[in-house]
Symmetry: C2
Subunit: 531 residues, 2 copies
């Protein structure tokens, strides 16, 4: 069963072993364990629904609480401390495009705000329920999960937009296909959610970002349906898909999406290479990205992330052996780990790995084979469960991510980490912070930074500290010329920083666009673009 | 010097040799030679300018006539027959973003319509001057041509938007880079024009469409400047670049553009492969496109285009030898020629060519080496000069193009060709029509059809015939589910068919967007989206 106040399935435990815990304590001190609020107590505190009865709209407090929040750290604080704030007045579970239409018409008839709900994995406040007079209807799309059409010749698959990642892949796999979109939230995020937040998966180097996969489909807007046909490419004016991508519910609800799929790869492998230091590693990945090799993934950890990953891996003796070997090969303190992935044909595999290792070696890279990569692959959707284990030990984990052109990659990494350290120093606290480049482009890279810090054990204090952290790192991102999000979207948490990259003229254009589709300001107001 | 009433430089002749002419006569009959109108006579007929004197705005009839039209067939008819229709009231040649701003403010002050002018190579009526009361200012951007910045690490180059293709490539080549965008109009089209019409070049398989190259820049709109910063990727809501791409002047004027460039390739080659028939060839190119090989180009001619190209090539004896060899290898009547291109490293070259030939052979493909490809490469920007030579012999050449998912590629090709034949049959005329797939995608292909027919020798008759043709083939494209343009844009000629693919809801959204940026309907009105 899915956890109501944490990540993932309650049957899955991904614990912190003793060495990892000791490492963490040494870095930030002993955590404060919080006694979690109970589900029933939280539900009992939910205010009565302001929506009239309609069809199968669920107005029970349980369902409303379960659909109230996402997975951001402030969302967690609310759930764990039991201070949940506004919840939707009802939750609908439509099973078709037509039912979504009916629900939008109902929302208009009672002047309700509508919040589309996919997998509920947002880490940017996309699902936040605004306080105010208008009732709030959450439309949960996860019953719209069928593979509606598969065009094998064109490699196009049409799904209900609420399909979860594993369900989508299973339905495709039965026919010999894959979408190849694997964000870390994969287990619980949905196709529609990926599209409206411009998601990027771990193997985007081969399969592309969701922008490249999304070929067309249907959107129900307050103004009526938008049907977007599929073309391989078009020069006919503005691409309507681009009005849907990243729209975060503001123009309507994505009900069906056609995506570009691929045949299942003959071979998949993940290799690890260590570099003596950051500068050598960064030069190597830049060259790898610009060489356009048929790799599926490049993921470069900085020195502290490398240490952290090796420590978390357990197997201290084996890791010790590896580290002694690496020292002999020139990779001692300050070493950085690169993971590169391949997905494709046997013949492309040989070519790509040979070329990748040639480029790596020229920068001092030491190849250690595929064993660590296999381990990483096995755990790639499980490491996020660490948030649960850390919380139970009194620690919070949060992340931010951006993307920036190459000359600013290293300054960005340093600025974000330093901003976090300074933010916690104000409270006399330490933060364990480390970074990786998760998506590599010829032009630059995404910069993904993790923060681990101990809880204070009081809702207001922890929320205040998070706000300080979030503001500090967001300001650092903006100051260094990065986008406020490379893969998580804007939601409410990043909305204050949007104008820095879009400009006032850009934000005004988005407002005009949203007002066109949604003249009553009904669709997920306050997200993406602030009023 | 550039031809005022035809394609390209007047010093370049690309003639029809006797065999080619005989071939054409056999297919469609003897052409009617037209006596071209003289430049000075056309200028003398231009009405007086309705614009007041302003800065260096050029109001001479000569400059106004030279900036009045593009390169579509109806544009040619107007120029050649001397029935030129409305011309702009003045032409400005700004040299900076700031000067464009001043010109837009001037246009507002006199309530003028503004038509941005790049290289004047539109084949879809993007430059048509509307009849009406408002004066019309053409803003010719070709003096904004400098390389303003080159970021080698991120492989980003910023240019003035009016830079011509060869100038852009020469400036990049001096630093060891290429953009790799080679539309057939390359010699006279501009970077800004490519972006606002969503152009696609011959080597898009490697370098991408202009959409993938365009990284940011500046746009001057009636509402002020839109400055779009560069990021390798972003999930921060709607991508503002997408509001500029394909906007065809409707939201403002692109003044500076930053594009993603590549290092000059170590090796470039074009191979020819013949297939016994269309179905085998189509299956092969579909497989090639879906194999994601590092090729730069795939271009498949249907049987009649193959015959036409072989005939136009001259060298009858050599071609005869080739054809006898091909017959022995199973490629007789109905054979189809594939040209595939490579651009990249030596190591990628071996890998890509080996894989491409393996896939081709499995479908009966006969590889004939790189000699025909070299010839094609030499002439790739010269074949368009055939329009001049054909006109002089009394023939017109026109093309249409679309893109469609794989199951509809062959039906589309047949429908477009048949629609053209039927259109001319109404006039008791024949048309020589043939097709190639110019851009190949995993999802489908562009379908590019050429029409050669003889002139009637009277403006009204030839214009009426063209209108019949254009309507017939456009309706066929729409009926077969294709986009109204894969690479030429919409302009005025394709605008009536836009709603078929965008839907009324989509067109309404575009109208709202344009009205936001351009509340007075000043920017290139009537293009892309009809009033």
């Amino acid at each position: 069963m899915r956890r109501w106040n944490g990540w993932g399935d309650s049957a899955v435990e991904y614990g912190l072993h003793a060495d990892a815990l000791a490492f963490l304590r040494a870095r930030v001190g002993e955590g404060a364990r919080v006694e979690d609020a109970g589900f029933e107590a939280v539900c009992a505190a939910a205010p009565p629904s302001r929506l009239p009865s309609f069809g199968s709209v669920d107005r029970t407090p349980q369902t409303r609480v379960l659909n109230a929040l996402g997975q951001s750290l402030p969302d967690w604080l609310r759930l764990r401390y039991g201070d949940i704030g506004p919840v939707p007045d009802g939750v609908a579970f439509p099973e078709s495009d037509g039912e979504v239409r009916v629900l939008l018409d109902f929302a208009r008839s009672v002047d309700a705000i509508v919040i589309p709900h996919g997998g509920g994995t947002s880490v940017a406040g996309h699902l936040a329920v605004p306080a105010g007079e208008r009732p709030v209807l959450s439309i949960n799309l996860t019953r719209m999960r069928a593979l509606l059409n598969l065009d094998r010749q064109s490699q196009l698959a049409t799904f209900g937009a609420g399909v979860y990642g594993p369900d989508l892949e299973a339905q495709l796999r039965a026919h010999g296909y894959t979408l190849g979109h694997f964000p870390q939230s994969f287990e619980y995020s949905t196709l529609g959610g990926w599209i409206v937040t411009r998601s990027s998966g771990q193997q985007s180097l081969r399969y592309g970002r969701i922008e490249q996969m999304y070929a067309g489909g249907r959107v129900q807007t307050p103004r009526g349906a938008l049907a977007i046909p599929t073309f391989p490419a078009s020069a006919a004016g503005t691409d309507l898909r681009e009005l849907v991508l990243g729209s975060e519910g503001r123009i309507g609800i994505l009900t069906e999406a056609t995506v570009r799929v691929s045949r299942l790869p003959e071979r998949e492998a993940f290799h690890a290479v260590f570099f003596p230091n950051w500068d050598a590693a960064e030069a190597a990945v830049r060259e790898l990205a610009q060489a356009r090799l048929p790799l599926s993934m490049l993921r470069l950890s900085n020195a502290l992330e490398t240490v952290t990953m090796l420590t978390l891996a357990g197997h201290a003796r084996l890791i010790g052996l590896l580290e002694r070997y690496l020292v002999l090969r020139g990779c001692g303190e300050g070493k950085c780990m690169l993971m590169f992935g391949f997905s494709g044909t046997h013949s492309d595999y040989r070519h790509a790995v040979r070329a990748a290792l040639r480029i790596s070696r020229a920068r001092g890279g030491v190849h250690v084979g595929t064993r660590m990569g296999e381990k990483w692959k096995q755990n790639r959707f499980r490491t996020v469960y660490l948030r649960n284990a850390a919380w139970e030990q009194g620690y919070a984990i949060d992340t931010v991510e951006t993307a920036v052109d190459w000359p600013r990659v290293k300054p960005m990494m340093q600025a974000v980490e330093q901003a976090a350290v300074a933010a916690f120093a104000q409270y006399g606290e330490r933060v364990h912070t480390y970074t990786h480049l998760s998506h590599l482009y010829a032009q630059g890279a995404s910069v993904y930074t993790t923060f681990v810090f101990r809880l204070a054990g009081r809702y207001e204090v922890d929320l205040a500290r998070w706000r300080t952290l979030k503001a500090a790192v967001s300001q650092a991102i903006v100051a260094q010329g990065g986008t406020i999000s490379h893969q998580h979207g804007v939601g409410s948490d990043h909305a204050p920083y949007l104008a820095a990259e879009k400009g006032e003229a850009g934000v005004a254009a988005l407002r005009a666009l949203f007002a066109h589709f949604d003249p009553d300001g009904r669709m997920n107001p306050g997200k993406l673009v602030q009023p």
